[in-house]
């Protein structure tokens, strides 16, 4: 087990290193470069000044050399300055990380709390009216454009009814837990609905599969109650394949968070990355994307460990 952990941690670091190079190269493809941005904001700069600045910042060096310099600094915890916010990148990024974790965590818990019981109930009697409702709900939410759902929620609950704030994370001048919660309601609903369908479908499929096994028939023959069969015998086994699904869904959860945060002007990582890309903030976009990737890789790792814990037949070496 410990050898497995060491190997996986090593793997994560390798993947992260590769991804950082890929993302670094991609960021380099964004329009203009930092010196162009300075020229645009200061008309007194001459071409000679620009060349001098480029040499000063090392922008005249080849890509790999620049990447090596950036990586060396990043390994020491220095991700440079954010152009948009005029503060160190990490100081901008870290508070946003908490906001996104709150949004994603709340939505994820709600997603599973809705999708899993519904999936179990639908699997009990495939073809029943309950199954039809569950199928329709999963198809409808999978097909829903997330940004449009957000727009409609804002239109109805913020613009027309005025019940909830249309965006942001807090009311300026106000504060407190209730205010934060008010601002979370619509984003959490949006993110939950767009992620709800796949989890429902996977749970339904896994339960149908499990309920066909011999040990379920044995449990029935021994006179176990329906609730006991569903929870103790079937659900525990159905959960095992779902761990992988949960881990792989983390990336799309983050993609959904980008849209949701942008729509509701919620100060999280997703909106930060979007703003950084559109605002030519290279350092911030780079660090934001890397943190998002790291979070995904760690979630997958956690799922691997949970997998081993849930199924004694699996032993990692």
């Amino acid at each position: 087990m410990s050898r497995f952990v060491v190997r996986r941690v090593f793997e994560i670091m390798v993947v992260l290193a590769i991804m950082s190079l890929v993302i670094y190269a991609l960021i380099g493809l964004m329009p203009g470069d930092p010196v162009n941005v300075m020229i645009a904001s200061n008309p007194h700069l001459t071409p000679a000044d620009a060349a001098r600045l480029k040499a000063l910042y090392g922008l005249d060096k080849p890509l790999l050399e620049r990447y090596a310099a950036w990586a060396a600094a990043a390994l020491h915890g220095d991700f440079g300055y954010s152009r948009l916010y005029a503060r160190p990148t990490l100081a901008v990024l870290l508070p946003r990380l908490g906001n996104t974790a709150l949004l994603m965590g709340a939505s994820f818990a709600l997603t599973l709390a809705l999708a899993w019981p519904m999936g179990v109930l639908a699997a009990r009697r495939p073809g029943s009216w309950l199954d039809d409702v569950a199928n329709f709900a999963s198809f409808a939410t999978i097909s829903m454009p997330s940004f449009w759902l957000a727009l409609m929620l804002i239109l109805v609950f913020a613009v027309q009814l005025g019940w909830l704030p249309p965006g942001g994370a807090t009311t300026i001048g106000a504060g407190g837990v209730a205010d934060r919660a008010d601002h979370l309601v619509l984003p959490v609903i949006t993110l939950t609905l767009v992620n709800f369908g796949p989890h429902l479908r996977y749970m339904r499929a896994a339960m149908i599969d499990t309920l066909n096994h011999d040990y379920i028939r044995t449990a029935r023959a021994k006179g176990a109650g329906e609730a006991r069969i569903l929870t103790r015998h079937a659900l525990r086994n159905a959960l095992i394949p779902l761990i992988t699904v949960v881990a792989l869904s983390f990336g799309s959860l983050f993609s959904g968070a980008l849209v949701t945060e942008t729509m509701f002007a919620y100060p999280g990582m997703g909106k930060l990355i979007y703003d950084a890309v559109l605002g030519n903030d290279y350092n911030l976009a780079l660090a934001g994307l890397l943190f998002a990737t790291l979070m995904t890789l760690l979630a997958n790792f956690a799922a691997d460990l949970a997998y081993a814990a849930a199924d004694p037949r699996i032993a990692y070496r």
């Binding site: 991609l26 964004m30 999978i142 881990a247 792989l248 993609s255 979007y274 976009a285 990737t293 995904t296």
Partner: protein
């Protein structure tokens, strides 16, 4: 044609057929209405429904119905083209992985799982914002109106092939052990011939199913990127970028924001139902 018995296939296919016909008949409708999807009329901005404008006008006074149909043409075109390209790419990768197995399989599946697990939208946002000048795209192509179309198709193809690849790999793995493949091997057929002549035709079902699901997925992705200003660029209409304009006037003209989204929803739903129904109809092993 037993697939047509499936209600999901009938509904999904029917909706897509009606949409395609409607979208293709836009020029005739435009002639009848005496306007064009790009005709700006600043004196009649955000107008309500009338005989001349059956669904009213948008923030620049353009006819909403014609814009919606034009946007549908672009969205469907991007969805279908990119889904087909992704299907070709995914089939190639899945076939190679499933047929040769071993290290190649491990590496390709690692790549597939990696792409599925990554936060794709943030990465696509960076890719979509890339400067084509730095990529060395010729100026004539770069400045053409359709450039944003080519770019979005290329982008979503790049990330859209994974579902097809996994399905094709799985089926190839099981086909590989079947007697007719072994017989072909014993007769001395080359790898290429076995893959293309013996295995590929048997992959039709998973490929068709995955492609129709991919069309929906890609239309969703295209719409969100276009909405964020990184996909199909105006003056070209797409359902996604129509919503960008509608967001700003949402308090004045809410219906402008309702129609394009409803059409995206309906189209994607139709693709998903079609794919799911086809799977149930064509693949009896999956029937429950």
């Amino acid at each position: 044609m037993s697939a047509l018995v499936q209600p999901r296939v009938r509904f999904g296919g029917g909706v897509l057929l009606v949409l395609t016909i409607a979208v293709l008949s836009t020029p005739f409708l435009a002639q009848a209405l005496g306007a064009h999807a790009d005709t700006v009329d600043l004196y009649h901005r955000l107008a309500g429904p009338s005989l001349r404008h059956p669904l009213g006008t948008d923030e620049l006074g353009r006819d909403l119905l014609l814009r919606l149909l034009e946007g549908g043409r672009v969205s469907l075109l991007v969805g279908i083209t990119a889904a087909l390209a992704a299907a070709v790419l995914g089939t190639g990768i899945g076939l190679l992985a499933g047929y040769f197995g071993g290290r190649l399989d491990a590496a390709l599946m690692r790549l597939t799982d990696g792409i599925i697990a990554l936060p794709l939208l943030p990465l696509l946002v960076v890719l979509a914002a890339a400067d084509l000048h730095k990529l060395g795209v010729p100026a004539a192509l770069r400045d053409s109106d359709a450039m944003s179309l080519y770019r979005i198709i290329a982008l979503v193809t790049l990330v859209g092939w994974t579902t097809v690849a996994r399905l094709v790999r799985g089926t190839t793995l099981s086909l590989r052990r079947q007697d007719f493949v072994r017989a072909a091997e014993a007769l001395g057929a080359s790898h290429r011939r076995i893959m293309l002549v013996h295995i590929l035709p048997n992959l039709a079902t998973p490929i068709i199913v995955a492609t129709s699901l991919a069309v929906g997925e890609i239309i969703l992705l295209e719409s969100v990127l276009s909405f964020l200003g990184l996909g199909v660029a105006p003056p070209l209409a797409s359902w996604g970028n129509m919503l960008t304009g509608a967001e700003e006037t949402i308090a004045l003209a809410p219906m402008l924001a309702v129609y394009p989204g409803l059409l995206i929803f309906l189209t994607v739903m139709a693709c998903n139902l079609l794919g799911d129904g086809l799977q149930q109809a064509l693949d009896p092993r999956q029937r429950r």
